[in-house]
């Protein structure tokens, strides 16, 4: 990291004013008791304490997004003949996500191999990803649902961030992670951090230490496959799940989507919108057959995808950043950590030979 800078709390607003002259700034704002990312304007009261309810997923992967618009036109000579025109019209703007937690910014590190290095490049994702930068706030204390240190991340993780801010002495130590981030630290509102940088490091180290011993989830990769056919196990761990989509929509790494045509007369849009593997319709085929007919099948896929299939395909990286939103905000407190641990410890009679 380049030379660390420091900005005091009272100058933070001015810095954001300055930055929002140059680009769209999304910052955490309280609505009800929820904290969500909203465009910053001078005077916006931002909330940097605690984990925002929503990660900044929408900055790069909007809840719904037009893939292209279509228009039908009748041939004036022959009204029975109709032609159609289609065209994309995305206009992403340069955006700074300010004040996400490291776990929120890390989400896109999980997206990237799929959306930009997979079978096909996703052009909508790519243009948004390239026009978005992240200034994240390191955590100095963890919540009960946090387990970032068990999935290769941590309270001061810089993966996915361009700047890392650490709250020190009624202000923030700001450290550039990338060149893009470095450019933003040129503002005269920031001063040299001096020995505050060391203090920031200590705080981050302490935060990590306070989390206790990390749990090693790597054996889950094999084990989840080994107990794939043990439906009793999956029914047991999914019993309390109510099959809503809160876990997936709040998840920084969940990237599944739906595509639907939404029409209004002769024109409309093909959109993609967040979808949710906990939903019955997600895999329901037109014939009525559903390969994942119950919540047990669906939860098995969600856990399997994050802790087994994705790591298998992407150099062992777990598709979970340990933010714990799925635990904290689950209406019935389903705990994905507990499921993975139970899977790893599960003694199965059928074992490796099960039901092939």
């Amino acid at each position: 990291m380049a030379e660390a800078k420091y900005i005091s709390q009272d100058k933070l607003g001015k810095w954001l004013d300055e930055l929002s002259q140059q680009m769209q700034v999304l910052a955490p704002v309280q609505e009800g008791e929820a904290v969500v990312f909203r465009p910053y304007q001078t005077g916006t009261e931002i909330r940097l304490e605690g984990q925002p309810t929503l990660p900044p997923k929408e900055a790069v992967f909007p809840a719904s997004e037009e893939l292209f618009a279509y228009t039908y036109r009748k041939n004036p000579e022959d009204p029975a003949q109709t032609d159609v025109e289609i065209g994309p019209r995305a206009q992403p703007q340069k955006t700074l996500v300010f004040g996400a937690r490291p776990c929120g910014s890390r989400g896109f590190v999980i997206f990237d191999p799929v959306y930009t290095q997979g079978y096909y490049m996703d052009p909508y994702y790519r243009v948004r990803r390239e026009s978005t930068i992240f200034a994240s706030v390191a955590c100095v204390s963890h919540e009960n649902s946090c387990f970032c240190h068990s999935v290769g991340s941590g309270p001061g993780d810089t993966a996915g961030s361009d700047i890392l801010l650490t709250p020190v002495d009624n202000g923030y130590v700001a450290e550039a992670v990338t060149d893009k981030g470095g450019e933003m630290l040129g503002s005269s509102l920031l001063e040299a951090a001096g020995d505050k940088a060391g203090k920031a490091r200590e705080l981050r180290d302490k935060a990590l230490k306070d989390m206790g011993e990390p749990r090693d989830f790597t054996p889950a990769r094999e084990k989840l496959l080994a107990i794939f056919d043990d439906l009793d196990f999956w029914e047991d761990v999914s019993a309390k799940c109510i099959s809503c989509g809160a876990c997936t929509y709040l998840c920084p790494t969940c990237y599944c989507f739906n595509i639907t045509d939404e029409s209004a007369g002769m024109q409309g849009s093909r959109i993609r919108s967040w979808d949710n593997c906990m939903s019955f319709q997600f895999t329901l085929e037109a014939s009525g057959h559903n390969p994942r007919p119950t919540k047990a099948h669906r939860l098995r896929n969600r856990v399997g995808h994050k802790f087994s299939y994705y790591p298998e395909l992407h150099q062992g990286m777990i598709a979970c950043c340990g933010c714990g939103r799925c635990i904290k905000h689950c209406p019935v407190s389903v705990d994905i950590r507990e499921i993975v641990i139970r899977a790893m410890e599960h003694q199965t009679e059928t074992g490796e030979e099960a039901g092939k």
């Binding site: 159609v84 997979g118 996703d122 989507f257 739906n258 979808d275």
Partner: protein, 284 residues
């Protein structure tokens, strides 16, 4: 930064090509075939695909659904898709007629391993609409007839009226370089061919597994018993090839619904050997 509009127009796997339906054929009471020509002067000649690859057909305002391109790459005057009416998109497709505009995203997915099948005897077993992907392969092999050994076709449907591609069957039956067996589930007036369930007729045909590849496609229950019959006849897992169907949206390995464990049917499939299938988690 690049010009975004240009980039999205030129590098966009979600953006269908436009084409026109040049012919429709009512195959059965619920299967309709569409012959589609893509826009652009030399586009049909430039369009390249492999037998078994699929395409997503778009009815703008309704949506997309996946179908195999069932015309072979050796015959490119049009792309042929056969659509069984089942859901929202297929129902809408059935209302389209000649001259209607349509969107096509193709080719997508993998294809039949026709290279490694060269020099071998080929057994094709198709049931109902499952004949569509097999038609591509069959016509492709007939157009490259010298590359393959004996070719046997067993094609079954519930009744004569449920048999798609009826206009081609006389030719297939007549050809000397193809052994065609047709079967229906129950006796029907005027039916001159076999009567009986596909797996049973297959056992009677008793094709030999030596230096042979069996390719099968059809409804899940037929596949299940056909696999059992093939095993009984001595076919090994790696001698059996089939295609899978899943609900798909993006078709390009991103949207997340068609996976079986680490495999995405839209990009790693739809064609799988039985050996590959057995290595996947049991979630069909």
């Amino acid at each position: 930064m690049m010009d975004i509009q240009q980039y999205l127009t030129e590098n966009n796997p979600y953006l269908p090509e436009l084409g026109t339906i040049v012919e429709t054929i009512q195959e059965t009471h619920n299967i309709m075939t569409f012959r589609v020509v893509l826009d652009g002067d030399s586009r049909m000649q430039d369009f390249s695909f492999e037998p078994g690859q699929v395409g997503q057909l778009s009815v703008f305002g309704t949506g997309e659904a996946t179908f195999v391109i069932n015309s072979p790459p050796t015959r490119k005057e049009y792309l042929q898709f056969s659509v069984m009416r089942a859901g929202e998109v297929t129902t809408k497709l059935h209302s389209l007629t000649k001259g209607d505009r349509i969107g096509v995203r193709a080719p997508l997915g993998n294809y039949f391993p026709y290279e490694s099948m060269k020099g071998k005897d080929i057994l094709i077993v198709g049931g109902g609409i499952g004949m569509a992907p097999l038609r591509t392969l069959l016509l492709f092999m007939l157009d490259n007839r010298d590359d393959y050994g004996r070719i046997q076709l067993l094609y079954g449907a519930r009744s004569p009226q449920d048999m798609a591609f009826s206009y081609e069957l006389p030719d297939w039956l007549e050809r000397k370089d193809l052994e065609t067996v047709l079967t229906i589930d129950n006796e029907a007036e005027g039916w001159e061919h076999r009567v009986g369930l596909i797996p049973n007729v297959l056992l009677e045909m008793a094709p030999t597994p030596q230096n042979a590849i069996a390719v099968t496609c059809g409804p899940p229950i037929m596949i299940k018993f056909t696999l059992q019959a093939l095993k009984k006849l001595g076919f090994e897992d790696n001698q059996i090839i089939t295609t899978l169907e899943k609900r798909m949206k993006c078709g390009i390995g991103l949207c997340g619904r068609c996976n079986i464990g680490t495999s995405y049917v839209c990009v790693d499939g739809p064609v799988f050997s039985y050996e590959q299938l057995r290595a996947l988690p049991n979630e069909l």
